[in-house]
Symmetry: C3
Subunit: 415 residues, 3 copies
C-alpha cells in the first residue's frame, strides 16, 4: 500500500539523517529484510540455549532461524554439536520433535542413519559408487561459552566468536553460568520489524511513561543515565548518577566483584558491551520488594546489589543480578515479525518453594516485555502511514541512535 | 493463477467494450488496485460517521483506510478535527482504542503529548534546537455536512467538497440529520474487489431473483425503472412508472417536501445524484408492513411515503424514508476485499420500545446486504476463471454501465 | 528466504543430474509452479469422481482445480457433461453448493438460466441484438471411462484420452467399475509441492521404515521389487520375487484373469502403466488379516489374491484387489500445497454390516496416506534449507527417478 516501492538501498542509506529514526522502507520492505538477513542476521552469533537443556548424550533440541532448522545435540563424548536438520538423501527433516533424546539421528523417511557426530552410518541399497563419507550431516558453526550455546549460520567461515566476546568475558564469568540451570522461559512474538524491537531495547526514554515495573526497581537517575545501556542517556543525567555509580563501584571493588565496564576501541564493527551498575539502593535483586528470588550464583559470596549487562551484536543480551540472569534472545522472522524469547537462569541448586520464587523472579521483565510488545506493534502500525517520516531522537535515545549507526554501517560495508 | 499478468492499464482501458463488464484484471490485480487507490479511492471524500458519535470535547474515534488510521476528535472549542494517528517522534500510533475520550493526545510510547487541536505540548529531553511548532500532528482533510463527517486522504489539496455536494444539499437538509442519532450499525465484510460491490449496488436487475425483501416494500415498476438509481432501468419501465412518480411528486410538492431529482450538467467528473421517489403505495416507511419504525425526522411534519437517495462519488449513499436514513459506506481494503458498513440514523428523540423499533427498521437493508455479500463473493469466484470474459449488461443495468464509464474516465484522465 | 530467486527454468533443467532429487527451486518457486500448471497440470486428464455420485438427471457436483470450478452434471438424456461454473453474463458462480440436483442451471445473481446441456434458456431484458446462442455455458473437456469421470482443462484441443488409456484398459475392465459404488472417501491435504508427493508415491524405499501397515499385507520381496510400481526396485529384488510372480501369473491365467503388465513402447510422452501382481501369499484382500472386506467385483468369479495397479499421467492411480478398488487423486493447489484424495469403490450391491466392512477396507491406505502426509511435509521443510542439495536416489527409487525424467521432459518439450 503506502510502502516505498523500488527500494534502492544505497539511496535509502545515503538519505538517512543521523539522529532521526529511519525511512519506513527499513521497517517494512521484504527486500530490505533480505539484505538484513544476508548482512546482519546470518553473520551474527545467536544464543540458542543453555547447556543444561541437553545434559546427557543424545539429548537434542531444535533451533529455527531463517528457514533453517538446526539440531543442537550432545554427543557420546559429551561435546555439544550442531547440524542442519536436513537429510543428505532427499532433504527430509530428520528430527521432528522440538527436543528429545536419540541414539542415532535416523531419518524417518528412508532410514538413513547418522551417528551423533553427524557421520552417515547406514543407507540401504545405494549404488556401488556411493561413498558414505561424502554424506555426513552438514555441520553448523557452534560455540559454547560460559554455559551458553551460540550458533552461526554463515555458509563459509563465520566471524570469530572469541574475538567478539573477549572484552565481556570477565563480566559473564562471575555469574557462574556453567553451573546454572533454566528457571523459566517465555516467548513474546512481536509483529514488527526486528529493528523496531532493537530500537525499543536500546533506549529507556519510554521507561517512565510505559514501564512502571522497571521504574520501581531502578532509581530514576539510573533510568535516565543508563537505562538503555552505556551512553544511552543525556550527559547531565550521567553526572547526576555518578555519585551512586561511584558508591557501587567502591562496594563491588571491596568485595572483589567486577565493576565498571568493558573496554572498547574506537570503530569496531561490534555492537557489544558489558558493564556493572547498581540497582535501587537497598535492593538486593531486580524484584518488586528488592529481596532475592534465588540463591547467590557463581563467584558471588555476598550480595552487592549489582546489575550486570552483557550485549552481543545485537541479538543477545544478558541482564543479571547476584541471584539470577535474564537472557534476551531476538530472532527476526520476516520483515514484519520478530520472536523475542527470555530465559531466566538460576543456580543449579535452586529449588522452587525452597530457595527459588519463579513468579517473583520473572515479574519485572515479563511485565515489561509484554508492554514492549504492544508498544512496538503500535510503532509498526504507525510506520505504515503515508504521513510517517523519520522523527528526531531525544537526548535520551542515544543508544538507539548508536544501534542505527551500527546497523547502517553493516549494510554499507558490504553494500 | 489464471490472473492477467503484466497488466498494462492503458491497454486494458482501451480494450474495454462499453456495455460489458470489465476485464478480470480490473477485479483481481493488485497493480490495478494500486491505481484505484491513487486515482479514485484516495481522492474521494469518505463518510466516516455521524457527529453524534462524538458529542463531547475530547471524544474521538478511529477511521481506517488505505494503511492509515485517522483520529476524528472533537476539540475543546466543539470543532471536529481529524489527524493522522502517527506520532511525530518515531511514528507510533497515538490512540490504541477504536474510540474514547481524552484530555490530551498522549503517545503511549514516549509520552509526546498533543493538544486536541494537534499542536505538540510536551516532548521531554529534546535537543536545544528542537522546535515543537514543527511537530504538530499531521491534519487530515475533514468536512462536516448536515451532521455527517467526511474525510479525504489526498496528500495535497483535495477536491472541493462543497462543489461536489452542492446539487444534493436540499435533498439532504430536509432529513434533519444534524439533529439525528445513530440507531444501529452493521458491517458486511465482502471478499471481492470494490468495483464488483459497486456494480452490484448500481443495478436492480438482480433484485427480483435475489432480493425478495426489497421487492416486498418497493413496487415492481419502481424496481424496474429506478431500483438501481436514476437512469438504471429500461425506458419502457420509466414510462410505466411515470404515473406513480407524478402522483408522488404532486403529493410531495403539496406538502412542501422536496421532489424530483438534483440537476446535473453534462460531463462532470462526479458520480453523484439525489432524488425523491415513492415507496410502495400505502407504505409510510421501508418496513415489512409499511408502518413507521421511528418518529418523523427533520422538516417532515407528516408522512409523504417518499424515499430520498443521495449518492457521492461513489463510496457514500444515503437512502431515507421520513422516519430513518440508511447510510452506506463502502471501504475498499485490497484488490479482493471490501468493507461495507451500514449506519441507520433516527431522530435524536427516538427511543427503543417507545417510538423506535430497531429490528423493524433494519430488516430490509440488513437482509438485502447479507444476500449481496454472497452474490458478490460468488461473482468474484467466477471472475477468477480462465473462461471468464466480459459479458453484456442488460437494459436493466444502465446504472452499472454508468459507474464503469465513470471509473474508467477517472483512470484515463490521470493515466 | 533461502529460496532460489530469479529462476531460469532452462538452467535449472540443464543443471539437473539424473539419479538425484531436484533443485529446491522445483519444489518451492511459484514461477516453476506456473510452468507446471501450463505444461503438466492443465494438459493432464484428471479423475474427478465415479459416475455413481450423480446417478439421476440434474445431479451435479463441483470439481475445483487451478482457480476453476467445474460443474459435472448428468443431463436429462443421461449423459454426463462438464461446464465451467461461470455465468456468461457477469461471471458469477452458478452453482454454490458442492453437490446437488437441479432442473436448470440458474445463476443466483440475475437469474440467467441454462439447460442441463449448457444452452442459455432465459436472460431477461437484454438488448434486441442479443443472441442467446452466443452465450451457452463454456463446456469443459470430459471423458467417462469404465465408470470413472475425467476432465481436462486444456483451453484448446486436449490430448487424446483414449490413446492415453488404451494399453491399460483391459486391466481396468475386469474390475467392473461401471457397476460399482463409492464405499468411502477421504482427504489428505499435504503442505508440500506436488512433485514431492509424486516422488513419495513412486518409490517404496520408505515403506520398510515408514509403513508397517503396508509391509504387513505385502510380502517383503514384493515391496523391494515392485512396491513403487513397475521398475521401481533393484534388479536382484526382481529376480528374488520372480518365482512368486510366476506363480501368481499362472494362477491368474488359469482363472482367466488378467496378468502381467501393459505393453509400452519406448519414449512415449506418457507416465502410465498397468499391471497385476499378487498380494501376500494366503491373503485374499489388502486387509489386516487378508480376508475380504467386500464382495467380489466385476468379472472375478473367485479370489485370485491379485493386485491391479493402473496409473495415468501421473495424477490418477487405481490400486485394486478382487473386492475393492482404491482410487488416488492428486490435485496440485499451489507451489507448496497439494490435495490428496482417496476414493474406495466396491460392488454396487455391497452393504455395510452385511458384506462390506468399510473400516477394514480403508485401514491400510488410510494409515499409509496419513503417514505419507507427515513424511512429505517433513521433506518440504528440509528442502527450504540453504544446505539442501539434490541427493542420490537409491537403487530402490528407480520409479521416482523415472517420474523426474518424465516431468523434466514435459518441461523441456515445451520450454
Amino acid at each position: 500500500m503506502a510502502r516505498a516501492n523500488g527500494v534502492d538501498l544505497y539511496t535509502l542509506i545515503k538519505d538517512h539523517t543521523d539522529g532521526f529514526s529511519m525511512d519506513k522502507a527499513f521497517y517494512l520492505e521484504p527486500d530490505v529484510f533480505e539484505a538484513d538477513l544476508e548482512r546482519v542476521i546470518i553473520p551474527a552469533w545467536h544464543l540458542v540455549d543453555h547447556i543444561s537443556r541437553i545434559p546427557d548424550p543424545g539429548d537434542y533440541f531444535l533451533f529455527e532461524l531463517a528457514d533453517e532448522s538446526i539440531i543442537v545435540i550432545r554427543g557420546r563424548d559429551g561435546e555439544i554439536r550442531a547440524f542442519y536438520n536436513v537429510c543428505r538423501h532427499r532433504g527430509s527433516r530428520i528430527c521432528r520433535e522440538a527436543q528429545g533424546n536419540v541414539r542415532l539421528l535416523r531419518c524417518p523417511y528412508h532410514a538413513w542413519s547418522y551417528d551423533l557426530d553427524g557421520s552417515l552410518k547406514a543407507a540401504r541399497l545405494m549404488s556401488d559408487d556411493f561413498n558414505a563419507d561424502d554424506y555426513s550431516l552438514h555441520a553448523c558453526h557452534i560455540e559454547v561459552c560460559e554455559g551458553l550455546i551460540f550458533v552461526n549460520l554463515t555458509q563459509g567461515t563465520p566471524p570469530d566468536f572469541h574475538e567478539q566476546m573477549a572484552p565481556m568475558l570477565s563480566f559473564l564469568e562471575v555469574h557462574g553460568l556453567p553451573n546454572a540451570k533454566i528457571g523459566h522461559r517465555a516467548s513474546y512474538p512481536t509483529e514488527a520489524n526486528w529493528k523496531l524491537v532493537m530500537e525499543n531495547f536500546y533506549e529507556c526514554y519510554h521507561c517512565l511513561p510505559a514501564h512502571p515495573e522497571y521504574c520501581e526497581v531502578h532509581p530514576k537517575d539510573y533510568v535516565l543515565a543508563l537505562g538503555g545501556g552505556e551512553g544511552s542517556g543525556p550527559i547531565e543525567s550521567l553526572i547526576d548518577y555518578q555519585p551512586q555509580l561511584d558508591a557501587f563501584n567502591k562496594l563491588a571493588d571491596s568485595m572483589g566483584h567486577p565493576s565498571g565496564r568493558s573496554e572498547e576501541e574506537e570503530n569496531t564493527p561490534f555492537l557489544r558491551g558489558a558493564s556493572r551498575t547498581g540497582i535501587k539502593p537497598g535492593y538486593l535483586s531486580e524484584t518488586r520488594d528488592g529481596t532475592p528470588a534465588a540463591p547467590l550464583m557463581g563467584k558471588f559470596n555476598d550480595w552487592d546489589g549489582g546489575y550486570t549487562g552483557v550485549t552481543l551484536n545485537p541479538f543477545f543480551t544478558m541482564l543479571a543480578t547476584n541471584d539470577f540472569a535474564t537472557l534476551f534472545r531476538f530472532i527476526p522472522r520476516d520483515a514484519v515479525y520478530t520472536d523475542v524469547e527470555l530465559i531466566w537462569l538460576v543456580h543449579a541448586d535452586a529449588e522452587e518453594g525452597k530457595n527459588l520464587d519463579t513468579a517473583k523472579m520473572i515479574w519485572m521483565w515479563d511485565e515489561t516485555t509484554i508492554a514492549d510488545k504492544t508498544i512496538i506493534e503500535d510503532n509498526h502500525a504507525g510506520v505504515l502511514s503515508r504521513k510517517y517520516q523519520p522523527g528526531p531522537y531525544s537526548r535520551h535515545e542515544a543508544g538507539t541512535n548508536e544501534f542505527v549507526r551500527w546497523y547502517l554501517d553493516r549494510l554499507t560495508e558490504t553494500a
